[in-house]
């Protein structure tokens, strides 16, 4: 018996939960995905190290799609709106998410950023994640595909060092290929071999945002994403 107030002893109750720690995030992501699909928007989550060339890829994409596709971007950074400003200067409506100290975007931040209508009437929404090869891989944002940008200077063993990120990738974009003449030791086969060990269906495209080499293949891949049959998910409101 409880000696303080006579309320009775506590007993131990065991509750089986079996729920993902990301359940809340995933509900919001599913909600965002349903909205975007309904509006015919293909959302692409672009991840990669700081300096991999994510923003440059967006700038090149804006140029290549100008006049044919409408696009918008959400850019995540710990501080500053520089990436959003760069993408805006390339003619793309952009919204910056300044995460403060958070090392990744989560579904709630993206959902919030979408609320002022930046993705209305667009064909593609590019979500440029915080430069980081670890944390962003964990969070579903409501995208249709994950793209990981890796530059030619980063080392061929990057995929083996960051298997979680590359496992989640639908496409790897090898960037800055214009630097290859200065990198005689770069071994593309070694990079592809590393990818095959962490990415079940490895796909990689080589591009140079600077010269435009390979950008056509990237655009073709984006167009294929529009044609991919996507299951219509129930439009459930997460909150």
């Amino acid at each position: 018996m409880c000696e303080d107030c006579g309320c009775g002893d506590t007993k131990l109750v065991s509750l089986d939960v079996h729920e993902s720690l990301l359940a809340g995030n995933d509900r919001t992501a599913a909600h965002t995905r349903a909205h975007l699909r309904e509006d015919g928007v293909v959302a692409i989550n672009i991840m990669g190290s700081p300096g991999a060339g994510k923003t440059a890829l967006l700038e090149a994409t804006a140029g290549a799609l100008a006049g044919t596709r409408r696009i918008a971007a959400i850019t995540g950074d710990l501080a500053t709106e520089r990436d959003a400003e760069r993408v805006r200067a390339a003619g793309v409506p952009s919204k910056a998410i300044t995460t403060g100290s958070a090392c990744h975007l989560d579904a709630e931040m993206v959902h919030h950023a979408l609320h002022d209508g930046i993705a209305e009437g667009v064909d593609y929404l590019f979500i440029e994640n915080v430069g980081n090869l670890v944390c962003p891989a964990v969070y579903d944002l409501g995208q249709e595909a994950n793209v990981v940008v890796i530059s030619v200077t980063e080392g061929e063993d990057k995929p083996l060092k960051y298997p979680v990120m590359f496992r989640k990738a639908d496409l790897v974009v090898l960037s800055k290929t214009d630097l290859l003449p200065a990198l005689p030791d770069f071994d593309r086969a070694a990079l592809e071999e590393a990818l095959a060990h962490v990415m079940p269906n490895p796909r990689m495209l080589a591009v140079s945002a600077r010269t435009g080499a390979g950008i056509e293949k990237w655009i073709n891949w984006l167009e294929q994403m529009r044609e991919t049959e996507r299951p219509q998910t129930a439009h459930a409101h997460a909150r």
Binding site: T10, S14, L21, G24, A196
Partner: protein, 116 residues
């Protein structure tokens, strides 16, 4: 450092469950974290310990269970050995992850007033 975000999400989830059962305290939590979940277990435990003061989990023990990474062929079901390329040589098909990315709250043990 997303482990801190996850630890806070865990505590919120557990507190919701505990309040629904009118628990006075959480005694023990069991989570399962696979090697491909993208979560560093030790860092997650540290984050949990740093986030729990002032919550119903303030004195809760955290048990972290492991789960082995497992890749299989979707066609023939054969296991793809660790350290090899992620495709089935027999079927020439990409492997599918059959375990190892778990990030799951399995069980909450809490102290509930006996008469309730």
């Amino acid at each position: 450092m997303h482990e801190y975000s996850l630890a806070r999400a865990l505590i919120e989830r557990v507190e919701t469950a505990a309040r629904a059962h009118r628990a006075t305290a959480v005694h023990r939590l069991t989570v399962r974290i696979g090697p491909l979940a993208g979560v560093e277990r030790e860092l997650f435990a540290t984050a949990f310990h740093n986030c729990r003061p002032g919550t119903l989990c303030a004195d809760a023990a955290l048990v972290i269970r492991n789960e082995d990474a497992e890749w299989r062929c979707d066609v023939c079901g054969e296991a793809i050995p660790a350290g090899s390329a992620l495709y089935c040589p027999a079927c020439a098909m990409p492997a599918r992850l059959a375990g190892g990315d778990a990030l799951i709250l399995e069980r909450v043990e809490m102290e509930v007033l006996g008469d309730v």
